[in-house]
């Protein structure tokens, strides 16, 4: 049974590590982001932060999907 779950465990672990890294980037770079002069309101600054975070999150999902798909296709082709 361990042989069956091994690869899923690795995929989940790698994605968890990437998620933690994403949280670190969000907290150290995006949350403290202050734009002076360019954007007039706090609302717009907040919106920009959210958009960057959403983009990073989508990228995370994309990498996740790509890794599973690549592994699955490779394994299927071998068989």
């Amino acid at each position: 049974m361990l042989n069956r779950v091994k690869i899923v465990l690795i995929i989940i672990f790698l994605n968890w590590m990437m998620l933690i890294l994403l949280f670190y980037i969000v907290s150290s770079m995006i949350v403290p982001l202050e734009i002076h002069g360019e954007l007039p309101s706090a609302f717009l600054t907040g919106l920009l932060k959210v958009l960057i975070a959403v983009f990073l999150f989508t990228l995370w999902l994309y990498i996740w999907n790509l890794s599973v798909k690549t592994y699955f296709m490779k394994k299927c082709l071998k068989q």
């Binding site: 042989n3 069956r4 899923v8 465990l9 999907n65 599973v68």
Partner: protein, 335 residues
């Protein structure tokens, strides 16, 4: 305060006992009235009682309604009320879907309405606790995320309900993580709601475990999923719940990506097929979606029992990572 604690224990017991007893009678009633579905993973494909989720929904509502008069704190009353209303909305969606199959798009859109009670009753705090960052204020964005969270969790749990006992067991693992976060964050009132839900699922488990005597139906799986979403919001366990929920996301997300959008179950090519030995194997059709079971079966066919064990191992591993994340948050003094 003492009365509230005694009432809480009674509400938890009530939720457990009413689920356990009502299911015993419901199974007989469902079989007698033809409310059944075929267990396709077993030889002879036996008829199994469907829509057992009704008993879970009713028992949780009974437990929470019993608790309601003993609550003095307004904030807690609002949270209990919002959980009950969300549960009712999603249960209605699930009930309609069980009776008359809704299109995947309609079902997904309708589950968004489950977030309305939380929004209107303001049963949320518009911030998220992130590892390393502490509180991230999301005054404008958070309200939009609530209906999305309810829709995602309810539909993801619905998609995970494929083998006997997988839905209650994996959901219980996620709910345990939420409960532990509630304890660490000092949200003891919210913990009571969580325990009422968990008690009902524990009582449901003996009936749904392999070989299942009852299926939850969409009413059960959508409702349990919505409750995971609501509880992660009111217990301020969004990040921990998200990580514990990763197997559900993996399963649901890859299904959606492989079928390119929302489709009803009947429209999707089955990801697995059953061979002559009644073992499951991957469907080699290139249009079949990639689900968690496909990844488990990549090394060869397996029986249902083995697959159930695989799901549990993955859910436990994600829960471990969720707890590790909670520890990381705690270490930097954010919890």
């Amino acid at each position: 305060m003492m009365i509230l604690y005694i009432a809480s224990i009674l509400a938890i017991l009530l939720s457990f006992i009413s689920t356990y007893i009502s299911l015993r009678y419901y199974i007989k009633f469902a079989i007698l009235h033809g409310i059944t579905g075929k267990d396709i993973h077993k030889p002879n494909q036996p008829d199994v009682a469907e829509m057992g989720g009704i008993c879970i929904v009713v028992s949780i509502i009974v437990g929470l309604v019993f608790l309601f008069p003993f609550i003095q704190e307004n904030n807690f009353k609002v949270k209990v009320l919002s959980v009950i209303l969300t549960l009712i909305i999603i249960a209605i969606v699930g009930f309609i879907d069980d009776l008359k199959t809704l299109s995947a798009f309609k079902k997904t859109v309708l589950t968004f309405f489950g977030g309305i009670p939380l929004l209107f009753l303001k049963a949320y705090y518009p911030y998220i606790k992130l590892p390393f960052a502490g509180f991230a204020r999301l005054h404008y964005v958070y309200p939009f995320l609530i209906p999305l969270a309810i829709a995602v969790t309810s539909n993801a749990v619905n998609m995970m309900d494929v083998f006997n006992g997988v839905m209650p067991l994996t959901s219980l693992i996620v709910l345990t993580c939420i409960a532990l976060t509630a304890i660490i964050n000092g949200h003891f009132n919210e913990l009571i709601i969580c325990l009422v839900v968990m008690a009902s699922l524990i009582a449901y488990l003996p009936y749904n475990k392999y070989p299942a005597k009852v299926f939850p139906g969409d009413i059960g799986s959508l409702s349990v999923g919505a409750l995971i979403g609501v509880l992660s919001i009111i217990c301020k366990a969004e990040v921990v719940a998200f990580i514990a929920f990763m197997p559900f996301i993996l399963n649901g997300f890859h299904t959606l990506m492989s079928i390119h959008g929302l489709r009803e179950r009947a429209e999707i090519i089955r990801p697995t097929i059953i061979n002559e030995e009644y073992k499951l194997e991957i469907n080699k059709n290139p249009e079949a979606p990639i689900v968690l079971a496909s990844l488990f079966l990549i090394n060869g066919p397996a029986d249902e029992k083995t697959l159930i064990k695989c799901y549990i191992v993955i859910a436990l591993f994600s829960a471990l990572l969720a707890l590790l994340t909670m520890y990381l948050m705690y270490m930097v003094g954010m919890c």
